[in-house]
């Protein structure tokens, strides 16, 4: 049993997170280049081979590893050294509860492609996300630099404000699916629902000629407002532009990671990109149906392929189909975050705080009320 968890954890670390973080640096450069009508970075080569600039992540890593590691004078040495590690750890372990595949039975063994499935999986993600504040706070304090201090202050206030709204905007999803276990939530999204079914249930008006119009039972169709609110708050939690006031490049030089160079800066940089993957994975699981294929449930897929090739092979192929579907949706969410990053200008700090407390908080509470009302009417 523990060996299974270890294999899944290693798989997540090396394939899902570890392969994605350098690829995202390439995606950022190339996508911004395409959006801004230029070519982007394409000159780093290995023995004369440049594949569209895919050698640049390798060049980045080599450059960061060979730079000098500086601890500024007067800085608290222990906290300065610990801060990048404390900042990177929550981003890495948040992936333990995100399901990247379904529940499959091979003969007599049931395998669920999720590293850990506690009863309170979503609470685990929020608890780990709330610990992510410490990296920025420790870095801002320990650098003995006024710009870092201002960056650390802004980071801590922004992150603890947006944690509140992040939790509240997901309460609607929790009410609809009735469980905090992420694998059960995705299994519940492996179905379709009639779009106009609520007319029949609430008002008693059957519309039989519209019964063919079925949407996949994804969270985004049940809770569209919660999707927008959650995406906004979780991008603000990650201190990603347009919310990158804590590292405002034009005002406070680089904010809380000003005094970091070499691989420790690389660790901060990488932890921001790993959190992009975490955000993509989390949004996919909650709102976009996780590893499910729209309109094709797991029984349908195994039924079709199993009729031709046998059930064991069909289940194996289904694993690949579901994992590919998950990866595709994660890539879509990463593309969306990159597009938002390169489109919107940076918010001013009081605009960031106003958005959280005066706009997103009332909207998420209103969402909870409306969801409760609709659930009361539909489910009796």
């Amino acid at each position: 049993m523990p060996i299974e968890v270890l294999i899944k954890a290693l798989f997540i670390f090396f394939v899902v997170v570890g392969a994605f973080a350098p690829v995202i640096t390439w995606i950022e450069r190339k996508q911004s280049a395409v959006m801004q009508d230029r070519i982007g970075a394409n000159r780093a080569d290995v023995a004369g081979i440049t594949i569209l600039g895919l050698m640049h992540p390798l060049a980045d890593v080599l450059k960061l590893m060979t730079k000098e590691d500086v601890v500024p004078r007067g800085a608290n040495r222990v906290i300065h050294i610990l801060a990048p590690m404390v900042g990177a750890l929550p981003a890495l372990i948040a992936y333990a509860v995100i399901p990247f595949g379904g529940v499959y039975t091979f003969g007599d063994r049931t395998i669920s492609l999720i590293a850990a499935n506690p009863d309170w999986g979503l609470l685990y993600v929020f608890a780990i996300g709330s610990l992510a504040t410490y990296g920025a706070v420790m870095a801002g304090w320990a650098s003995n630099n006024n710009w870092s201090l201002i960056g650390g202050l802004r980071a801590s206030a922004q992150m603890i404000s947006y944690e509140v709204t992040m939790g509240l905007s997901v309460v609607g999803i929790f009410m609809v699916f009735g469980t905090l276990q992420l694998q059960d939530m995705v299994l519940a999204q492996d179905a379709t629902f009639r779009v106009f079914g609520f007319l029949e249930v609430i008002f008693g008006i059957p519309i039989p000629w519209l019964d063919w119009l079925r949407l996949p039972a994804w969270g985004i169709f049940y809770q569209p407002l919660a999707f927008i609110l959650f995406l906004t708050t979780v991008m603000a939690e990650n201190k990603r532009p347009p919310f990158d006031m804590p590292e405002g490049e034009s005002e406070i030089v680089a904010g809380y990671f000003l005094e970091y160079s070499g691989m420790r800066f690389g660790l901060f940089y990488m932890s921001e990109f790993i959190e992009i993957v975490v955000i993509a994975g989390l949004t996919t699981t909650l709102f976009l149906g996780g590893w499910t294929v729209p309109w094709l449930t797991q029984e349908t897929i195994i039924g079709w392929i199993g009729a031709a090739f046998g059930v064991g092979f069909a289940t194996g192929l289904c694993v690949l189909v579901h994992f590919g579907s998950f990866m595709l949706k994660v890539l879509l969410m990463i593309w969306l975050q990159m597009a938002l990053r390169w489109t919107l200008p940076r918010f001013r700090y009081d605009q960031v705080m106003d958005l959280c407390w005066k706009a997103i908080l009332p909207l998420s509470i209103a969402n909870i009320f409306v969801t409760g009302l609709v659930l009361l009417l539909v489910r009796g």
């Binding site: 009863d119 304090w141 202050l153 905090l180």
Partner: protein
Amino acid sequence: MEIPAILFYFFAALAVISALAVVLNVRNTVAAALNLVVTMVSLAVIYVLMEAHLVAAIQIMVYGGAIVVLFLFVVMLLNLRTDTFPPGRQRLMKLVAVPLGLLVLAQLLRASGGLPEAPPVPQGFGGYRQLGIALFTDYVLLAEMASLLLTAAMVGALILAKRKID
């Protein structure tokens, strides 16, 4: 010794060592706050070992993720670099406090000795469903009073931290 016992003793030792570091840390307030986080997280692990899952998650979220961040925020806002407190009547206090503390400890340990073994636990114990049902049926008055208390604290903190009341 099975694994839950090993984990419990390890995290109990970690909690005690970080608690001592919070209290005995003379010059560095930020290091004291970070040791407080270590204490909170090790206590949360001990709660999970005792099947109190929701309480552990709330401990990390509220204590470790918000309250100690508030401490660090105030330290950074007031830019309290080092404490330069002159020695005063500290010596007498320390001499009295430590034996008093040991006396309290001895009394508490004597009162808590001889507890029976832990019984097995029903399914869903300490989960969010059971706690939610209990909180909103048996203890609904407590929940409403807690929300009133938090509102009062919010208003109080806002007024205390303003520069001038206009």
